[in-house]
Every structure is written in C-alpha cells, then in structure tokens.
C-alpha cells in the first residue's frame, strides 16, 4: 500500500501526521491551561481538589501525546529532532522540567509524607501550565521565524550563538504565539471545568476566565497572524533545491492551498464562537465547539509551515541550512514502515474516546470523588 508512494508523497504524508498529532496535543493542553487556573477558578481547598481531580483523569493523555509527538518527529524527521532539541536546548529543557513537575504533582499532592507539601505540587502544576504552553508556542512560532543554526556537509547541526534557544524570546511573533497558546489553553481549561465539574461557583468563575483569556487569546493570535501573513517566508525552489526568501510566502501558502485556508478560517470561527458560547452564554457545549475549532487551526498552521515548498525549520544563520520535509526526513523505507504503524492511530483514538465517554458519564463532584477512592 505505502510501498507505491513516492518519497515526496511519504514525506508529505508524515508532515500531515505530525500536524495532526501537534493539533491533538494543543487540544489536550487544556490540562495545562486548567492547571494555571487553580487559584483563580477555585477559592477553597475542596474546589481546588475538584479541579485537580477533574484534570487528573486526563493529564496522562496530554503527556503521552507529547511523548508520541516527540517520537513521531524523531522517526520521521530526525534532523529536526537533532537540530531543534540540541539548539534550543534551554527552551526544551524548561519544557521538560515542567512536565517532570506535572507528572508527580497529581499523585503526590494529597499524599501523606509528600516532603514538599500540597501547595508546592500545586505550584508545580501552575508552572507546568505556563511553561509548557508558552514555550511550545515559542518553538512552533520559530517554524515561521527561523532559528540561528547551521547544518554541515555531514548533516550535523550546530546552534551558532550561545543563547541556546533564549534568543527565540526576542522575537515579537514568537512571544505572541507563546501567549496566544497560553491563553487559548486557559480558555479550553475553563470550558473543561464548566462541562465536567458539578459546582455552580466553579462554573461562574470559569465563564469569567473564558471571557478574559478569550479576549487575550484573540489579541495575541491576531498579532501573530498579522505578522505571519505579511512577512517574507522561507521557500524552497523545487527544481534546484535552493532556499530563498519569498515575499508573503505564508499568505501565498494559504491562497495556494484553499482547502487549508477554509479549514483554518472555519477553525478560527469555531474557536471564537466557542468563546462566545462559553463566556457569554455559559453553554456547556462550548468546550467541544472550541476543541473542534482548535484542531483545524493548529493543523492548518503546521501545514502552511511545512508544505507547498516551505522550510518548516528555517535557519536565519544560513538559509541553505534550513530544514524542509525533503532534506530532514527519514529514508523511504523507514517512512513506509512508520506509515503502516500510523494506521493504528484511529484505533488509539477510538479507545481513548471510549474511556473518555465512560469516565465522563457523570459530572465530577465531591461524592463521586469519594466513591472512586483514588483522590488526587
């Protein structure tokens, strides 16, 4: 089946898979956004416990998706894995520290003898919530703004300054996507609380957070988008393989892939509609409306970053070092093998959906928590 595909088609297929996993990761980062609201949506210890437990039944999904996202990138585009992780060393390390802190914080928070005390584990959750979303936003934005690295003739990479990723923080577009992602996940986090927790006060405070963070998200996202569609982009000449700067490249990508543009616009409208439904109408459906919007928005951003002869990881140090799906991918054989593995993804999504349905039949409240006996 996949054997008949050309190398280029496989590279494109894998970029689409990466884009899809990336989009699902951003959807699932409502967990991170929710964690940052622990002290804003909850005002008492009991309320906070409800929040933590509601998120605690989902955190592994986000965590596993991140692991899979990393693994899939490693398997399909190993040169990106090698270049970005070692180059933007500090950004990735900060993200990882956040995830270590998160992983233990649920299980340890309320356990006797947890050494650091409950409050510290709650701070771990807030730290993870901010660091993961903001810095992953920074990394994704660098797909459009570029990074300062070089690839030698043996395809070995070097970051060409000593900031190891901190330099990415000096770019307005990067910062704007970082904050946009942070605010977006707070919106979806608050919507998750509204939908899955049975507590009137939590619902009211969540609705307020949806409005405030929704507004922030729109502002930062518009700033990011405005810069994106008006800037020169990193293009590759398919005939010569040479890199060059193309004016309005990303706008062209949208125009030249009208389906992607339609998907993107539909996603944006759904997100805005979801914010309206959640923040103003306090509708419980806001969560899924917004999520159905988030996935196509993120997916289409990844697509315009990597397809249509675009460099998805451009080098601002040396244009020719820029990474494209063509020069950074695994071999055809490995992509074929991995493509067969990708056929299992729908099965994985199906059983995740089943577990989600089983666990969410009833809203979480104090009684339900005591019933399960496993409280975070």
């Amino acid at each position: 089946m996949f054997e008949t595909m050309t190398l280029t088609a496989l590279q494109q297929y894998w970029w689409i898979i990466i884009s899809l996993i990336g989009a699902i990761l951003v959807f699932l980062m409502f967990v991170q956004g929710g964690q940052t609201l622990l002290f804003q949506v909850a005002k008492t210890e009991d309320e906070r416990t409800l929040l933590v437990n509601a998120l605690g039944r989902k955190w592994e999904l986000t965590f596993t998706t991140l692991v899979t996202f990393g693994g899939a990138f490693f398997a399909s585009f190993p040169l990106f894995y090698a270049t970005s992780f070692s180059g933007a060393y500090w950004i990735w390390t900060i993200i990882l520290f956040g995830f270590i802190a998160q992983a233990v914080s649920y299980e340890y928070r309320k356990k006797q003898g947890n050494v650091l005390g409950s409050r510290v584990y709650e701070i771990f959750q807030i730290a993870n919530g901010f660091l993961a979303t903001f810095f992953i936003g920074i990394i994704v934005s660098s797909f459009f703004t570029g990074s300062y690295f070089m690839i030698d003739k043996f395809n070995l990479s070097s970051w060409m300054n000593s900031y190891y990723g901190f330099d990415l923080l000096l770019n307005t577009q990067n910062i704007s996507l970082g904050f946009a992602l942070f605010c977006l996940t707070r919106v979806t986090g608050a919507m998750f609380f509204m939908k899955y927790i049975e507590n009137k006060k939590i619902s009211e405070r969540s609705a307020n957070q949806i409005l405030i963070n929704g507004l922030c998200f729109v502002l930062f996202f518009l700033l990011f988008l405005g810069i994106l569609i008006t800037k020169d982009g990193f293009a590759i000449d398919p005939n010569t393989g040479k890199m060059y700067m193309e004016p309005l490249k990303y706008l062209h990508n949208f125009m030249q892939m009208p389906v992607i543009l339609a998907v993107f616009l539909l996603g944006v409208l759904l997100v805005i509609f979801g914010i309206y439904k959640g923040g103003i109408q306090k509708s419980l459906n806001a969560f899924w409306i917004t999520i159905i919007g988030v996935i196509p928005v993120v997916f289409s951003l990844f697509i315009i970053a990597g397809l249509n002869n675009t460099s998805f990881y451009p080098s601002t140090y040396n244009l020719e070092s820029s990474l494209t799906i063509f020069n950074s991918s695994s071999s055809k054989y490995t992509l074929i093998i991995m493509s067969y593995v990708s056929l299992f993804i729908p099965i994985v999504l199906a059983y995740i959906w089943y577990i989600w349905r089983v666990m969410s039949k009833k809203k979480i409240n104090k009684e339900e928590l005591e019933e399960t006996g496993h409280i975070y």
């Binding site: 090698a82 070692s86 995830f99 270590i100 050494v115 043996f154 299992f344 089983v358």
Partner: protein, 509 residues
Amino acid sequence: MSISDISLVDWSRAQFALTSIYHWLFVPLTLGLSFIMAIMESIYVKTGNEEWRKITKFWMKLFGINFAIGAATGIILEFEFGTNWSNYSWIVGDLFGAPLAIEGILAFFLESTFIVLMFFGWNKVGKKTHLLSTWLVTIGSVLSSWWILVANAWMNDPVGMTFNPDTARCEMVNFWEVAFSPFAIHKFWHTITSAYVVAALFVVGVSSWYLIKKRHESFAKKSILVGAIFGFVATMLVTVSGDTSTYQIAQKQPVKLAAMEGLFIGRTRAPIIALAILRPDIPISDTVNHFIFKMEMPGMLSKLGYRDKNAFVPGIYDLVYGNQYQGIEPVFKRMERGTIAMIALNKYKEAKEDNDTIEMRVSLSEFRTNYKDLGYAYLDKPEDVVPNIPITFYSFHLMVGLGFYFVILLLVILFFLWRKTLIKRKLILWLAVLTIPLGYVATELGWIVAEVGRQPWAIQDLLPVSKATSHISTSSVQITFILFAILFTVLLLADIRILLKQIKNGPKE
C-alpha cells in the same frame, strides 16, 4: 569548542546515566506490580472474594505513586537523545526513532489510557471490563518495554541497516531484523523478568513486614503467596535469559564479555570467576596475573559463551592486540580501515560537490569496503575499545550473586508458606524486608554492566560516544545535570516517604 571536548562528553554521559539510573529505580516496580495486580484482580473476579479486591487496590495505590515518576523520568530520556546527543539522533535516527514512535503509538497510549479506567473505574464499569483494563495496562507496559529495549539492543548489535554516504547516516533496510533481533529478544526477556523479580521482592518484603508486625495477616499471606510464586518463576526466567544474553554478548561484544569476566588473556576451557579481587591499576598490556585472589569454575565461560566447554574465549589482550592463532585482528588494523573509510567518505562528499563522477565512484567503493570499521577512525589508541574493567567486572559478579540469593530466598519463603510456618520465621521475614533494596541494586547493576560494558560505543563499532554528543556548551550541560540531580533526588525522597506512609497505613477499603 571541539566536539570531542572531553568534559562535554563526560557531562552528557553523566546526565544520561543519572536520568537512566533514576528512571530504572521506578520502572521495575511499575512493570512487575502491574502484572502482580492483574493476577490478584483475576483471582478476585474468579472467586468473588472481596479480600482480593482489597489486596489489589492496595498494591494499585503503590503502583500509582510509582508510575507517575517513572513516566516523568522516561520522557526526559527520550528527549535527551535530541538535547544532548544530536549527532547520534541524526546518524541513527532513521532506525532509532522508529521504535520510540511505535512505543508511543502502540504501547504507551494503551497503558496510560486504560490506567485511568483502572484507577477510577471500579464503580463505573463491570468487574470483567475493569479486569480487562488492568490487563491492558500490563500488556501496554510489556509492549512499551519491548520497543524501548529493541532500540537499546540495536545500539549493541546494529542489524538491519546500511550506511548511506549521501546522507551520512545509518538507514534501516530490514525492519524485522531490527524488531526481532536475537539480541533484542534476549535483552527484553532478561530485563523484564529482572523487573518482575524486583516487584516480587517488594511485594514479599512489604507483606513480610506486616507479618512481623502482626498486622493484616491474611492480606499479607495472600500477597506473599502471589508475590513469591511470581518472583520464583521470574528468577528462573532471569537465569535462563541471563544465559542466552551472555551467549549473545560473546558473539556480538566479546570485549564486554571479557571485561565482565575479567578475562585478560584468552584461553580454551575458559573459567567463570565465582569470586575474585582485581589488582588495581595494572595496564591491560601487562600479562601478569591481574587478580589478588580468585575462585574459578573451569570451562564454564567457554560453555556459556560458545556452547562448548573446550572453546577458546578471547581475552582483552587478544581483542586489543590481536591473536593470529585464533584469527583475531588487532584493533589498530580496524582503526586503519576506519580511517580509510572516513577519508573516502570525505572525498566522496567533495567529489559530489564538484560533480566528479569518477572520483565519486572510486571513493564510494573504498568507503563500502571499509565502512564497517568507521567508528574505529575516531579512536585515539587501540586500548580505547576496553570499557572500565573494575566497574563492569564487580557489577556483573555482584548482580549474579544477588540473583542466586533471590532464588534461594524465594524458595525458602515458599517452603515455609507451604508448611504454614512462615509467620513464625522472623529471621526469614526480616531477610525478606531487607532484601527489597537489594532487588533494586541487582537490576541497576545489570544496566551498569550493559551500558558501561559497551563503552566506548554509542553504536557498536560504528559510532563512539565521544562523537555522538550535541554541539552545545559544557556549562549548559553542567547546569542541567545539577538541576536534574536535585529535582530527581527530591522526588525520589518524596516517592519513598509516600510509599512508606502508605505501607504504614496498610490496606483499607
């Protein structure tokens, strides 16, 4: 800064070792407890006896505490290949990335999705569905280990690949050879069964403590029964897989085997050393006796490594300086060929840039003839192929010694359990309690043998560790090493304290 900057290599190595050691403090218990819990819950579903449900839930609680930190350290390991070993990630990413991605898609999702139903679903689904979710967590953890160990085994025995001079990397040509290499199969069995032993010793040890304290006696006896039988079967499998693993090492990594057994000069009817003390600081080129004292079992190493009591087993001296009678080449010859391959690769690249097709063909032919020794081009001297002998030797022997002790202990416990007198055998019960940390020691030593013993190679014969690192500043790695060390240590202390508190509280409904 040169990529061969030794302190960068050593700090990167130290950080990876730190993360691996901490990771493996948590994973064995997760692997083993998931299986033990699944057995206990199966008994509950089969018998309907509520006590088994209580027992299952108690061990599940301890499992949950341990699982989180295992996952946290695991994600760091995956990403450290990119952050600290970027040359490695490119050179072998075509092969190495695939098992990691497959692990995520096929195994880790299974484990982490059904774990939610396992913890919170007792009253949400039927007994059988809940049991299925517990077994799926167990199966997920086994599959997860499989793919991780496939990746690790490939570093020791790089099969199913070719080196592509155009991309300057190893590329996969046969997935099945990678996924089911004999090295991977034996490594998987040895590693996972050793993890099961650790978990079994944990269950038996904790339960013995309750018997000593005369608390939860019925719970403790039932847990010991499951734990000891499971542990005994696992120790048998560890022994068998240890034997087959040694055979694989003899074929693929003879220097590692020689270091494990302290075999300096090769010989026929090579012995296994039962007990010995090495003389410190004797160079490997010195043919004097390297031991202060040793007790041997003649012919056993030949039997283990080559299935023939009279077989010749090469020693470190033979493997470094050569042995013409046994047809073993000296390392310097391989270094020469590696250098020829490296020069040919450079020439090929330059010729390609200049579109010089004749030179491309000549240099490519020369490269293909010699590329299997490519990694040797990076060595400074032949002795570099020898790992740290004392660490490898003592770790191996201590691990094996502890393994035999575990077999005896579990047999004795099963015997007294059968005689219904275990509760009176305070010494045995205390031994079981004190053996809990020894299980961890043994399994960590196993990894030390595996990883220290394969130095200097990141990929056997192809890529030394010194050339696998990222091009980053040493100070960055020093800082992250310190931060990781502090964070992991604090979390380990928290993990232990929480576990102790939960154990002290005992099983509750």
